[in-house]
């Protein structure tokens, strides 16, 4: 369920669009930032705001890879292995992080497509904040810094905390 502050925010978001249905994506981001994932209850609530059914919201949200429909911890680490990162060490970064955090329920490591950071490849995002010019060691250090609170993370959907 949205908190009172987010209920107000949700109403403001719906008002930005000529049709409430357009607000499904931004409201799903809002819910995911709040809860850490997109729960069936959240999709129910979004349906009410957007004047549609829960099934419709679920159908839309399941199309988009950024929406996590099960809890995935506080940190989403997205490592790019697309064609530029591929040839300058992206897969090695991914392998190191996947191995290291395989049983850590607080860190969700995923392989993603191009992040538009090819000039400084290899690159990754932690809760959609960019980190570039990586080595396996520096990538691990960055994740550790987030875990220890030395770096402040965005929400799981990239919103500001």
């Amino acid at each position: 369920m949205f908190t009172d502050a987010n209920k107000k925010r949700a109403t403001e978001i719906v008002a930005l669009y000529p049709k409430a249905h357009s607000a499904i994506l931004p409201l799903a981001h809002l819910a995911q930032d709040q809860d850490g994932w997109l729960s069936p209850e959240a999709m129910d609530e979004i349906a009410d705001y957007c004047d549609t059914t829960a099934a419709d919201v679920q159908g839309v949200c399941s199309f988009y890879t950024m929406y996590k429909r099960r809890p995935c911890g506080n940190l989403v680490v997205s490592v790019c292995t697309n064609v530029t990162c591929l040839v300058v060490g992206g897969p090695e970064v991914l392998e190191r992080l996947e191995h290291k955090y395989a049983s850590d329920h607080d860190v969700f490591v995923e392989e993603v497509e191009c992040l538009a950071a090819c000039g400084n490849a290899p690159s990754m995002q932690v809760n959609y904040e960019y980190h570039e010019h990586l080595t396996p060691e520096s990538a691990e250090q960055i994740v550790e810094d987030y875990k220890a609170g030395r770096l402040v993370a965005r929400g799981v959907s990239g919103g500001l905390a």
């Binding site: 930005l16 669009y17 000529p18 049709k19 249905h21 357009s22 607000a23 499904i24 994506l25 931004p26 799903a28 981001h29 957007c50 549609t52 159908g59 839309v60 949200c61 199309f63 988009y64 890879t65 950024m66 929406y67 997205s78 292995t81 697309n82 064609v83 530029t84 591929l86 040839v87 300058v88 993603v112 497509e113 191009c114 992040l115 538009a116 950071a117 090819c118 000039g119 400084n120 490849a121 995002q125 959609y128 904040e129 960019y130 965005r154 959907s157 990239g158 919103g159 500001l160």
Partner: protein, 413 residues
Amino acid sequence: MQRAQADGAYEMWKEVLRRADVQWIHDEVKASGLRGRGGANFPTAIKWESLPDNGLPRHLVINGDEGEPSTFKDRVLLEGDPHALVEGVCIEAYRIGSHRAFIYLRGEFALGADRVQQAINEARAAGFVGTNILGSGFDLEIVVHRGAGAYICGEESALIESLEGKRGMPRIKPPLPIHVGLYSQPTVVNNVETVCTITHILKMGGAEYAKLGVNRSTGTRLAAISGHVKQPGVYELEFGMTLRDIIFGIAGGIRDDKQLKFFLPGGASFQWLINSDEHLDQVYDIDDISAKLGTTLGSGAIMVYDQDTDPLLVAWRLAKFYAHESCGKCTPCREGSGWIEKVLYRMSHGLGRPNDMDALLDISAGISPDVMKAPFTQTTICPLGPSPVSAVASLQKWFRAEVEAACGTEAQA
């Protein structure tokens, strides 16, 4: 905001409102020969001329869903100069008579979205956005909309679907978005870079802008150069340079003093070129490169690979991308991209079979009937389908012998 204004931001927007002359904007942009910078190269002024006059509200949608592998030019604009985008949006909205503009950014651009939103807030506080802007009677609201990780939403009709809160699947055209777009109303969709360029065209004068560049490729564009070059990054290039000047001049040549093997002059979706004088001496010109070499400049990405790169591995990774991002609407793309990915996987991981290259060509023909021909033909609604076929055609054209050495030939089998 103060720094942007010290650099002249919003001066042109004030000038536009002072002149209150829509035709002037149109004429200057038409004279400049500006073509869309998103990859389709459609002339911007012609798009405006196609707007129907049917009394329905018009929408302006800015495409910032930059997701094409190795394209990263728009991110530089969004994060580095958001006021330039806001000013461009204001001017274009004024030209087409739209009172609500949407800036669609890919979901991963959290920082870009924050900065653009902040720029809009500052512009509103200064009276450049909102109701009755600077006493002109013109109203404009700008909404920043984040996607959620779907490459296909960079296709304009899929983007509109996504903006309506639906799954991002391309629509059958016609009707074009310019006639029946967002909420079934006339909609102009432009790339971030295109909109930012309009302000500069008005500053320089359209005729002056058209003196830059060559032939019908006027002016400059942002090129994102990446891969095995010494100085990767985003560069503003004037059309008319040779590819050799770009790769070995601007980008500093190949790292570790290795040799160039092949490069992609127009992003991931188009055919590759190799280390030959014919290709390197090719002029950076939208129409010329497509007529002579059968590829395009696409979204402005240039990927460069050195002598030690396995072209099969690059082709496989591209195919994997398209297989993942296929929206699933058209059967040839949904099934074909997955098949191409599987075959390329085994070929690039030492499990290739003797007739795999021919199998690839056969599958490709189902998506793009005339595989080796460019610009490609397609059996799908949008151009995502034929995109992995470009990689297959490039392998066939330039690396058939290498592929056969890796996988054997039919005769040996």
